[in-house]
Symmetry: C2
Subunit: 220 residues, 2 copies
């Protein structure tokens, strides 16, 4: 892999051109497309072989995070580096969740951006210092348990129907059978029957144990 195929996504044409011109000076990158919004990017990435997308996080229409989610779904191999002007710390976590591999400030030097792209190609995860610190701070607030390696199972793996998952959600909220029935416009008796079936499938015998399985597998 000598030349890195890059897609640029930014709703500001001026910035788009600036970044493009800066990157064009580096022979190790080749800009394969430019897009002005998430929809546009989603379309163009399908028609151009792409290694890395530099994605503006703040865009109208489909924003960078939604676009990242969509693109990663269709093209998991494409790496995405988020770019932001401000330190939108509330967005960092969402961007990471969406599947971004790197996270840089827009005012990084072009050489740093190219270095970051090379780092991504080598399996790294480049972040601006302030971003890296922020991720550590977020992580530091986590409990050890929540990071434990665990094989997450989908509700269908337990053979739960959609309705049953819906019921289990309400149970997890702490509602009684009657309250759940009222919410779903079915009788409390029916809710209890669903619950019986849920218990059979999950091999548990109480609301609490059922909810515990749901939480462990992040169903809600």
């Amino acid at each position: 892999m000598s030349v890195i195929k890059v897609g640029l996504v930014d709703d500001n044409p001026t910035l788009l051109r600036n970044i493009g011109q800066n990157l064009a000076l580096f022979e190790e990158v080749e800009i394969v497309f430019k897009a002005v919004n998430g929809q546009d990017a989603l379309h163009k990435v399908s028609n151009h072989p792409t290694d890395i997308i530099l994605m503006d996080i703040d865009m109208p229409e489909m924003d960078g995070i939604a676009a990242t989610r969509s693109i990663k779904e269709l093209h998991p191999a494409v790496k995405i580096i988020m770019l932001t002007v401000f330190d939108r710390e509330d967005k960092i976590f969402e961007a990471i969740k969406a599947g971004a591999t790197g996270y840089l400030m827009k005012d990084e030097r072009p050489s740093r951006i190219v270095a970051a792209m090379e780092e991504v190609m080598e399996g790294g995860a480049p972040m601006s210092p302030i971003i890296a610190l922020k991720t550590l701070q977020i992580l530091r607030n986590q409990s050890v348990e929540s990071v434990k390696i665990q094989s997450v199972m989908s509700p269908t793996a337990f053979d739960l129907s959609e309705r049953e998952v819906e019921i289990l959600e309400k149970i997890a909220e702490g509602l009684t059978y009657q309250q759940i029935g009222d919410k779903l416009f079915i009788s409390a008796k029916t809710v209890r029957k669903h619950t019986e079936n849920i218990y059979l499938k999950l091999h548990v015998h109480s609301k609490l144990d059922a909810v515990k399985i749901g939480q462990k597998n992040r169903w809600f």
Copy 2:
């Protein structure tokens, strides 16, 4: 701040000397102490003004993580960069929790280690690419809720006694009053009375709701 005052902590004298010699070539760092274990480090950092500690993560006696925790407690301003030979991914998270600011492989080039220290001094959080990726992966597995800014309350904030917290833990495990009583060698009736008091203090009316508060505040 021109010269960075560095402390080295490693149980392997050879590596300690190697790193020391390598760093000595850089005029922007000054090694203020070397320690061979956590205890030693904890003692020496108190007697030497220190900016950054390079800490081996695998040490006998007090390991790097415990040492980091202790040092950050006494000297919050001291930045700590963890060094590891292998990709001990299970240790990364613990190290971060303990308060490490950076996380590098030992085989990083000396110039990279110096660059990382400068990055730390500027408020960054340098990580080797593989580490950075790992932190993102950990973060990606988190639920959004668990990162939400939330004021975590201690059980004492709800006026819960130790015993009541203990009872609540068992409830969270999904045990019945009888089972809890058997485990704690008290009668089920007593467990129920404790639970009544817990409900009063937490303002809830069911096991599920009580456990939800406990989970939200990370009591177990």
